[in-house]
């Protein structure tokens, strides 16, 4: 007991934080951000689980609040309260059951392929999410906020699509070139933000947000040109069969080789961040840019490289979307992929395996949400509410603990003192 006590004062007497703050506010920002990101990514499994429970409960309450049958039962709540709770329960359970049927396993289907189709659809939807989130996570772990995955996905899809429907190349090579085009386009697009940060100190959050919109309008413009559009529609020709990602389970399913690319990307990011020298440099800059600079690393060059890797993955995500799932370009090719990728990266705590699972989960929620909307009339947008709440709760473990009256873990308490 007395042995534990002396530790905090040595930290408290440390004068470093005070005088350092005004001098180097720029890098101080980065350190703080990296620290927060670390904290976000080191919550416990229990908090994650409870965060889900909370988000699903709030989602359920919203579903109850807008349900017509529940409203009818509520009008005679005091006469027959059981009706109210029955109606509320059936509203929520039907919606969530439809969500499950649409996302994982359709137990109402008459054929085997019909029953497992939802799972394959989930995997298809998860493919670009996982890849783009891996890119966002590489940035997070290097202390950079890449909010521009959306724009990088768009640029990747645009170039990959263009190569896919314009060029004539042999089978195999065509696909590789198209994928590579997407990777390069995404990487260069994000590289702009990295270069500007390295050269001028421009904050990557602002630059990447702005580049999202530039990319969107660029694609909209391209879709009006003859090179990209078919007739009057703002829609490109279909990607040639030589450039399409092969289907994995035959014609009945949309699941394609993009999913294998997602697995490969996860392994690659694991190797890059945990096993390679470059990844060590990324993480060193992310945890303490000052120390990294002192150790002889070029922080600015690392910024550029991190953004390029991050954007390249987002570009690959766009490429799988256009070459595997959609097969042609529209201005909605990226959907909300880039923003979903941020939440997936946060939920997966910036770790490849976590992101893989979080991507499947989000893919499932998105696919299942559509089935839920059709079968129970609950708008799919409830999924966005649940997804955003989960991330918020996971990021604030003290709030979750306070709601469930859980004691704060000892390690967490000492960390708060140190901060």
């Amino acid at each position: 007991m007395s042995a534990a006590k002396p530790a905090p004062p040595s930290g408290a007497t440390d004068p470093a934080p005070g005088p350092e703050r005004p001098a180097g506010s720029k890098s101080g920002n980065g350190d703080r951000a990296a620290q927060v990101l670390r904290e976000v990514s080191t919550g416990t499994f229990g908090v994650t689980f409870l965060a889900f429970v909370l988000a699903l409960v709030i989602g359920g309450l919203l579903i109850i609040a807008v349900d017509d049958d529940v409203a009818d039962a509520a009008s005679y709540l005091f006469a027959r309260p059981a009706d109210f709770f029955t109606a509320a329960w059936s509203a929520v359970s039907e919606a969530y059951a439809a969500l499950f049927r649409g996302a994982v396993f359709n137990y109402e289907a008459s054929t085997v392929s019909g029953a497992i189709k939802p799972l394959t659809e989930t995997m298809t939807a998860a493919t670009p999410l996982i890849i783009a989130a891996l890119g966002v996570a590489v940035g997070f772990r290097a202390g950079l906020f890449n909010i521009g995955a959306q724009g990088q996905v768009i640029m990747g899809a645009t170039i990959a699509g263009f190569v896919g429907f314009t060029w004539n190349l042999p089978v195999g090579i065509h696909l590789l070139v198209a994928l590579l085009g997407g990777v390069i386009a995404g990487g260069l697009w994000a590289g702009i933000a990295g270069l500007l940060k390295a050269r001028t100190g421009a904050h990557e959050v602002i630059v990447t947000i702005m580049l999202n919109y530039v990319a969107l309008y660029l694609l909209q413009f391209l879709l009006t040109t003859d090179a990209f559009s078919t007739g009057n529609q703002p829609k490109s020709p279909s990607v040639k069969s030589t450039a399409q990602l092969p289907l994995l389970l035959g014609d009945g399913f949309r699941l394609n080789a993009g999913f294998l690319l997602a697995i490969l990307s996860a392994v690659f990011v694991w190797w890059l961040m945990s096993r390679s020298t470059i990844g060590f440099r990324f993480r060193a800059v992310g945890s303490n840019a000052h120390a990294a600079r002192t150790a002889g690393m070029s922080v600015t060059a690392t910024f550029v490289l991190v953004m390029i890797v991050s954007g390249a993955l987002a570009g690959l995500a766009g490429a799988t979307q256009v070459l595997g799932t959609e097969k042609f370009l529209t201005d909605g090719i990226a959907g909300s992929l880039g923003f979903d990728a941020i939440t997936v990266a946060l939920l997966g705590r910036s770790r490849p395996l976590g992101i893989f699972l979080a991507g499947l989960l989000y893919g499932g929620l998105n696919v299942g949400g559509r089935v839920m909307e059709v079968s129970t009339g609950t708008p799919i947008d409830i999924v966005l509410v649940i997804q955003s709440l989960v991330v918020l709760f996971i990021a604030a473990p003290p709030l979750v603990r306070a709601i469930f009256h859980l004691p704060a873990p000892r390690t967490g308490a000492s960390k708060e003192v140190a901060a």
Binding site: M210, L211, P379
Partner: protein, 428 residues
């Protein structure tokens, strides 16, 4: 247009550039001047005419539309712009700064030159162009004001988009239920407070990263409003989603001023509230004890804490106030313009508001100016789209974002925000 941002000397921390940097303004001006002389003046064929309308049918004094020879006008205007650039260069050589009016006049003349060229052989009304610009600037300006109230206290507000959206939603629903648009106008900031309270809870109390919370709250706002729209509003549109619109109020006397009168003083109450908000926030931030404290908290919270200012309480207050102001801007989307609420109807305007705040250097007047520029670019894009000019309107739409990237990259004068923005304050 981009030249306006050069009005300050380069940032203090920008040591490498030093005294020579102030020449950047005149050089950029000269480059743009030459560009307009060649592109709009010398290259086009002669013989075309440009027609500008300068009054509306309901004006007290009406003017006939002005018809100008396009080529000659563009050349003359370009030469005037070049003269301004030369004057700016002379001032800098004399060791002084380029006056703001020179930059403003240069920007205005450059845009007019561009218009003269773009509207060749067609006609457009300058009054409706400016009126529309101001209208489109309203949500941007309110959003930027809301953003700067947050950031001046040290909380980054990426959630402006979400606050605009919930504000728009609240205004539509409450306006419909009560049948009174002014009730909707009160409801808009109240609804946006929900997002503001969540932002403050997670960033100020729980120290979650402000950028993460902002991004996630935008998703939350889209999800929540779209969910309620799809499940409740769509089926009961008559009762819940058909608010009356705010009527236009012409201010007696002032609205009769030629050209500017109808632009500035024949608007809805939201626009007049904007004038008030800019003035009040400008005075409050820079001329009152409260403003000094807020800025201290945003620049150096440790010092503020030392002299007894409650940092986190100040941040709570400002985040809530900022979200309410942004929510007021949200009312524009529904009761201020089209009436009914639609899914994701703010369409990224919150991010342009963020950009306007940055370009306006975290000052209310600057934010309004930047919002007006972006509003003008947006309106111009609509007008040129109708007129079938050679510039694809997607490039006009890109303009605010590109200008912002240039601004934060310091290519047209460095911008620098409050020092402590983005950092949670942990006492100790």
């Amino acid at each position: 247009m981009s030249v306006i941002e050069t009005k300050d000397a380069p940032g203090r921390q920008d040591v490498t550039v030093g005294a020579g940097a102030s020449m950047r303004g005149p050089v950029v001006m000269l480059a743009f001047g030459v560009l307009s002389l060649v592109l709009f003046g010398l290259l086009p064929d002669s013989g075309g005419t440009t027609t500008f309308g300068i009054s509306t049918s309901s004006d007290f004094v009406r003017f006939d539309p002005v018809e100008l020879p396009s080529k000659a006008t563009a050349i003359v205007l370009s030469l005037v712009a070049l003269a301004l650039a030369a004057y700016g260069a002379l001032r800098v050589r004399g060791g002084r700064k380029v006056p703001t009016w020179v930059l403003a006049a240069f920007g205005a003349i450059w845009v007019l030159t561009f218009l003269t060229w773009a509207v060749t052989d067609k006609s457009t009304s300058l009054v409706s162009l400016l009126q529309g610009s101001l209208l489109l600037a309203v949500p941007l300006a309110f959003g930027a004001l809301g953003g700067l109230l947050n950031e001046r206290a040290g909380v980054v507000n990426i959630a402006i988009e979400g606050q605009l959206l919930t504000g728009a939603f609240g205004a539509a629903v409450i306006g419909s239920v009560t049948g009174n648009p002014y009730a909707g106008l009160v409801a808009a900031p109240a609804f946006a407070l929900v997002i503001g309270a969540m932002l403050a809870l997670f960033t100020v109390k729980y120290h979650v990263n402000q950028i993460i919370v902002g991004v996630v709250l935008n998703v939350f706002a889209v999800g929540l409003t779209s969910f309620l729209f799809g499940s409740v509003l769509k089926d009961n549109a008559a009762q819940l989603n058909s608010p009356p619109r705010l009527e236009t109020i012409a201010i007696p006397g002032l609205s009769q001023i030629p050209v500017l009168g109808p632009v500035l003083f024949r608007q809805t109450i939201i626009v007049y509230l904007l004038y008030v908000a800019v003035a009040v926030i400008a005075v409050a931030l820079f001329r009152t004890r409260w403003g000094l404290r807020v800025r201290a908290v945003g620049e150096y919270p440790q010092a503020a804490d030392t002299v007894g200012i409650d940092v986190n309480r100040t941040r709570w207050g400002n985040v809530l106030l900022g979200s309410a102001v942004a929510g007021l801007g949200g009312a524009f989307f529904t009761i201020g313009s089209v009436g009914a609420f639609g899914e994701e109807m703010t369409a990224g305007k919150g991010y342009i508001a963020l950009a306007a705040m940055i370009l306006g250097r975290w000052s209310p007047v600057g934010a309004l100016t930047a919002a007006l520029l972006f509003g003008f670019a947006d309106k111009l894009q609509q007008v040129l789209g109708v007129l079938q000019t050679p510039i694809p309107n997607q490039f006009m739409l890109m303009l605010p974002y590109i200008v912002t990237i240039f601004a934060v990259a310091g290519l047209v004068g460095r911008v620098r925000g409050p020092a402590a923005a983005g950092e949670p304050y942990v006492k100790g």
